[in-house]
């Protein structure tokens, strides 16, 4: 029964479980939380009860111990109904939980994974800054060693789950900061908890085009003191853990694109066989057929690429960069185009919220920017491909 998208029976059971949970509990709330730009915390806690928040984390620390394909399945299914909510899920379960599960020590895992796997704590990851995004090594946040402590100062921007409401910040963050001089690659990774003196919510961002069911915030660090136990990995060497976590981040962001594309294809396909124009269902017209058929083919191409790459991705290893960038480069734009065609096929009905495709289209756009812009993927991939003579 092996198939690329459900390589084992566990994957199949997982997909069905998430799909039925999504139909009953995620789909019905999506429109409202998009409109009000709020994070649905009770729903997030239900993901904890199902064991989804720690999908890849070690069972001894409250995780579910599954692989990258399982993570991809969960993201595809959640995103098919609510990409915004799924982005909050991704920032928590991939950028925080998986990051710490892979790069932390047992002591750090024991401190933070049980709470984040259950949903008691909401986590996020702080890499980007107001003045440094693609050029991440140009970050200005610094951490200065002081006895048994590090003192962190800087500003982090665009942090998903940075806030859990309009006024309250998230609970726990993995923060990248420079531990060498500003112009080196010496970056270290720190656990910073809400409530540490000097660590505050700068602003919760409002007016996002899409992904409005996830919060995005600016977090400010003003001489925040953290103990040495909060340093994750070797000081100065966090670029390696960053790259390792970026691989699964990009693959799951690509999986979110798949959810958006799949839903868009379903909606336009359904609509085109019911809607009549000039006395015939519109799916007999060649221009509509092109929208539907090309969308489906592109979706399946992207889906095959993502599951193929996820199947080879070992969460604690390196060296997947060409393809983890590749899947996101291809799928993010693919999903945006497919959602766009869905709007086109639905005409005026596609342009209003009732049929969901306008929301999917708005959400899809973020995937060309967050987790690396498509230009960044092109840059990374071409640099790596330049090392190759032949493609295996």
């Amino acid at each position: 029964m092996s198939d690329l998208f459900n390589p084992t029976e566990e994957h199949q059971v997982l997909r069905e479980m998430v799909r039925s949970f999504v139909e009953k509990e995620v789909a019905p709330q999506a429109e409202e939380f998009d409109k009000t730009e709020q994070f649905n915390r009770p729903l997030f806690n239900k993901l904890g009860e199902l064991g989804l928040l720690g999908v890849t984390a070690q069972p001894e620390f409250g995780g579910s111990g599954m692989d990258a394909v399982a993570a991809v399945i969960v993201h595809e299914e959640l995103s098919a109904a609510d990409p915004g909510f799924c982005l909050a899920y991704l920032a928590h379960s991939m950028l925080f939980v998986n990051n710490l599960a892979v790069n932390g020590t047992d002591e750090q895992r024991a401190r933070f994974l049980p709470g984040t796997c259950s949903g008691e704590l909401v986590g996020g990851m702080c890499m980007s800054e107001p003045d440094a995004g693609t050029d991440v090594l140009g970050m200005g946040t610094v951490a200065v060693e002081d006895g048994d402590e590090y003192v962190l100062t800087g500003r982090k921007m665009w942090i998903t789950n940075g806030a859990v409401s309009d006024t309250e910040m998230g609970d726990i963050f993995l923060v990248y900061a420079k531990t060498g001089s500003r112009d080196t690659r010496e970056i270290s990774l720190f656990l910073v908890e809400k409530g540490r003196e000097g660590f505050s919510l700068g602003q919760k961002l409002h007016g996002k085009l899409g992904m409005r069911a996830s919060t995005t915030a600016e977090l400010v660090l003003e001489e925040v003191r953290v103990p040495r136990e909060n340093l994750v990995g070797t000081p100065g060497k966090a670029v390696k853990s960053m790259m390792r976590n970026l691989a699964i981040e990009r693959v799951t962001l690509a999986a979110m694109s798949l959810g958006i594309a799949r839903r868009s294809v379903e909606i336009m396909n359904d609509y085109a066989r019911e809607r009549t124009s000039f006395g015939r269902p519109i799916n007999v017209y060649g221009q509509i057929q092109r929208h539907i058929a090309e969308s489906y083919a592109e979706f399946m191409a992207g889906r095959s690429y993502v599951y193929h790459v996820a199947g080879q991705l070992e969460l604690d290893a390196f060296g997947h960069r060409v393809d983890s960038d590749g899947v996101k480069l291809y799928c993010s734009t693919m999903a945006k185009n497919v959602a766009d065609r869905a709007i086109q096929v639905l005409g005026g009905y596609g342009y209003v919220s009732e049929y969901n495709v306008e929301r999917l289209w708005r959400d899809a756009k973020l995937l060309e920017i967050g987790g690396g812009t498509i230009e960044a993927h092109q840059k990374n991939m071409t640099r790596d491909l330049a090392q190759l003579d032949k493609i295996r």
Partner: protein, 248 residues
Amino acid sequence: MKILTTVKRVTDPNMKIKINADATGVVTDGVEYQMNSFDEYGVEEAIVLKENHGGEVVVVSVGPSAATKELRTAMAMGADRAILVETDEKLDSDAVARVLAEVIRKEEPDIVVMGKQAVDSDRNQAGQLLAAYLDWPQATFAFSLEVADGWATVGREVDGGTSTKRVKLPAVVTADLRLNEPRYASLPGIMKAKRKPLDTMTPDDLGVDVAPKVKVLKYEAPEERAAGEIVEDLDALIGKLRDEARVL
């Protein structure tokens, strides 16, 4: 307490059904399969019984080898072990009941909780036939179930209301929709289910002849219904019911 529950692998009830060219069944190409939804209530109730009384939940399916997926799902929800009686034949309810009866004679559970019917064929017979073959009491269409001192008290959905029935165990109980809220198979549950035992046997091993007693002659789609209509007000509705539908 030993609790036995059953699951059937059925076609996705939300798909649009198409009858095949020779009218012997429905088109199954590209169709998704899942656990019969009434069985989810049966499995949930079995697990609740175990949570309240201790013991073991055994889940049984009669069907193709692919039905191991539905059995794993039941084990991911909390069943302890599974038995697949493997057959690629399409069994009628009577054959299914006789197969289950043999499994039950071996397993000797204290109670059998199963879905009231399968959402694919909607025959609503297997539970009743099973109780008859075992010569056990039965309580169908359960919306509530209490077990104490070797008896089960079952609230039942019946035409025009509800009724309560007390049956001596062992007994067969079939589940209706209000019985409980089936849980999702959690991820830790899914990982645990991988290591739970799943035995496979065939109707032959059990000495059951599954040749059908019911012969399906032909499948036919129901006549297409005209679309509904939304009326302005109550008077218009009464008018339509009287003059067009002629039911008043």
